[in-house]
């Protein structure tokens, strides 16, 4: 990828800044060739990756190096875009929101600082992947499980910072974070929570600060570079039982939500319950041309044929219970009875007991995998995906309304419908997977039109996205409009106070520092 300089920075000043960075990290860790820039491009970009170009990357190996780079960025007026491992596929990968930003790649900071099996937590640097942590725990045979997302290539902390979700009792990943170390935009170093006291022993155990608690202000945020954080882990259970219900019809999702959400809220079910539509199974069986060889969405009559042929329900609930055997049996009786009020077929049941192997792709057992990414092969070519991800109350009224609305908009754009609802308790996260071939401009144009329609109509109905791709960060922030966009104004006031030069992540989630606010119209999809 050819060089795009940061706004208002000339080539000589840019070279001077990179030389200064090399003085901190060594020249091997300042990455500024065309091939380097390709490595930090958005490989799932809806359109040319050149729309969100990094000018270079710099990869520090320690907190002191991060502090030095941030101070130099202020001195040279160079915008930085910190990434943990840069695997935020579908939401921008490692690419920056503002063209010409220098990616601050924290992948070398990959130490597992501590794992405590007794109190079930660990302390990590941002470069630690889900695979790394899982294998470190396995090698020591520690009684701990992770909660993993669909793509476990990424950083454990980075996923939590971006509000990622998993499918275990610890599935709301940002809620597992406890106690941060953060480099602020001026290079100062702060520890949050109990860690604000030198040598405090409860830093990663007590989730609140003395005074305001700032931890989550550093997630989906441009207010600092988190260099380490505590993360609570699930104690390995003695046993687990999976109950798999195939749910036959599209409209059944209403009673399913009204059945499962109360059980989740009451604590009978403690995992995040993932309910994908049928296409979630089909994408692992082949490409769409294997099942439907015409352009446009697979018609309903063909969907019915495929469901019958492959013995699939329209939805699948693969629900998992964890704990002592006797407790699981009692809970399973309650779940079976609740589901039986609307579904005659009993679930398929799979027991696991401590000492049994966990299979290679079971996200409900915290095993890291990248297999769900196979979905991008569905359309063929240079496949990619985006996720449209609004959050709705976990009741049939809201879920059915969201389903019908997004279904109609997606059908109007003649795109295959692949939705899931993940019940997190009082809310459900509705992720609509939109898959496209990056080499088909008409598909990309259609996806952009579709995405804009989904954001607009969903916001009109009173629901917002929890996370989005770089190209829509401003559009989604626009939907949070209470009192003249008071939330954005608050974010901007804090941002300008802490980061007057706007060196950290300008434009992240639609928050622009005064120094770069004139760039906010650029880079929108």
């Amino acid at each position: 990828m050819k060089l795009v300089l940061p706004p208002r920075l000339g080539p000589r000043a840019f070279d001077t800044a990179l030389s200064a960075f090399a003085g901190v990290v060594g020249k091997d860790w300042v990455l500024s060739s065309d091939a380097d820039r390709d490595a930090y491009a958005d490989i799932y970009a809806p359109g040319p990756a050149e729309q969100w170009p990094a000018s270079a990357a710099v990869a520090p190996a320690s907190v002191k190096e991060v502090q030095a780079i941030v101070r130099l960025a202020n001195e040279h007026k160079v915008p930085l875009w910190p990434v943990s491992r840069g695997k935020n596929l579908g939401y921008g990968t490692a690419a920056p929101r503002m063209a010409g930003s220098v990616v601050l790649d924290l992948g070398r900071m990959n130490r597992i600082i501590d794992i405590d099996p007794k109190l079930a937590y660990c302390v990590l640097e941002p470069g630690v992947s889900f695979f790394d942590l899982h294998e470190a725990i396995a090698r020591e045979n520690l009684p701990l499980w992770l909660s993993v997302p669909g793509n476990a290539w990424g950083s454990v902390l980075g996923n939590a910072f971006e509000h990622g979700i998993g499918y275990t009792p610890y599935g709301l990943h940002a809620r597992n974070l406890c106690g941060f170390e953060v480099v602020l935009p001026d290079g100062d170093l702060v520890r949050t929570g109990m860690g604000a006291m030198t040598g405090n022993h409860a830093w990663h155990l007590h989730p609140l600060s003395y005074g305001p608690t700032f931890d989550l202000a550093f997630t989906q945020s441009s207010l600092g570079v988190v260099t380490r954080a505590g993360l609570w882990l699930q104690p390995a259970p003695a046993a687990s039982l999976e109950l798999v219900f195939d749910i036959p019809h599209e409209d059944d999702i209403g009673w399913v939500i009204d059945t499962i959400a109360p059980l989740k809220i009451s604590g009978t079910i403690d995992q995040n319950v993932f309910i994908p539509s049928w296409l979630g199974k089909m994408v692992l069986k082949g490409q769409r041309r294997d099942f439907w060889d015409k352009p446009g969405a697979i018609p309903d009559w063909r969907v019915k044929e495929l469901l019958a042929q492959y013995k699939l329900g329209y939805w699948q609930v693969a629900l998992r219970l964890y704990g002592e055997d006797s407790v699981i049996r009692a809970k399973a009786d309650i779940v079976r009875a609740a589901m039986a009020r609307n579904l005659a077929a009993p679930p398929a049941e799979h027991w696991w007991h401590s000492g049994d192997e966990r299979n290679a792709i079971d996200t409900t057992m915290g095993v890291p995998s990248a297999v769900p990414l196979q979905m991008s092969d569905w359309v063929g070519g240079r496949g990619a995906h985006m996720g449209f991800s609004p959050v709705v109350p976990a009741t049939s009224e809201h879920v059915m309304g969201q389903l019908k609305r997004s279904r109609a908009i997606i059908a109007a754009h003649d795109v295959d419908f692949y939705a899931s609802f993940t019940i997190g308790g009082r809310f459900a996260t509705n992720i609509n997977m939109l898959m496209f071939d990056r080499d088909q401009p008409e598909q990309i144009a259609n996806m952009k039109s579709l995405f804009n329609a989904l954001i607009g109509e969903t916001a009109k109905a009173g629901y917002g996205e929890y996370r989005t791709h770089l190209g829509w960060m401003d559009t989604v922030m626009d939907t949070y409009d209470f009192n003249g966009h008071a939330l954005r104004r608050l974010n901007e006031r804090i941002k300008d106070a802490l980061d007057p030069n706007g060196v950290l992540s300008p434009g992240k989630q639609g928050v622009w520092p005064a120094a770069w606010r004139d760039q906010a119209k650029e880079g929108r999809a």
Partner: protein
């Protein structure tokens, strides 16, 4: 279970066609550990190639990894052995 046997089971499940899909399929193969990253400078020659492959590529290219699964489909489509999709064996 040997790596090849585990791979074969995984591939069969991934590529299962209509008549092969079971209501209660057998368990998938267990997670396969990667080798730890060999120590030393990333640019230095002479590091353990097998360990490097497993550590850097093993996210996707060991048994039942995403890359292995996609390559199985491609290899079958050109009439090649599915075992050739497991890069560590070729």
């Amino acid at each position: 279970m040997t790596p090849i046997a585990r791979w074969a089971l995984g591939a069969a499940l991934t590529l299962a066609q209509a008549g092969m899909v079971l209501a209660d399929p057998p368990p998938l193969p267990p997670y396969q550990m990667r080798a730890p990253a060999p120590p030393g400078d990333r640019l230095a020659p002479g590091r353990d190639g097998k360990a490097l492959f497993e550590n850097h590529c093993g996210y996707c290219h060991l048994t039942f990894g995403m890359g292995t699964n996609l390559l199985v489909k491609q290899r079958l489509a050109v009439g090649a052995s599915p075992a050739s999709a497991l890069l560590a064996t070729i």
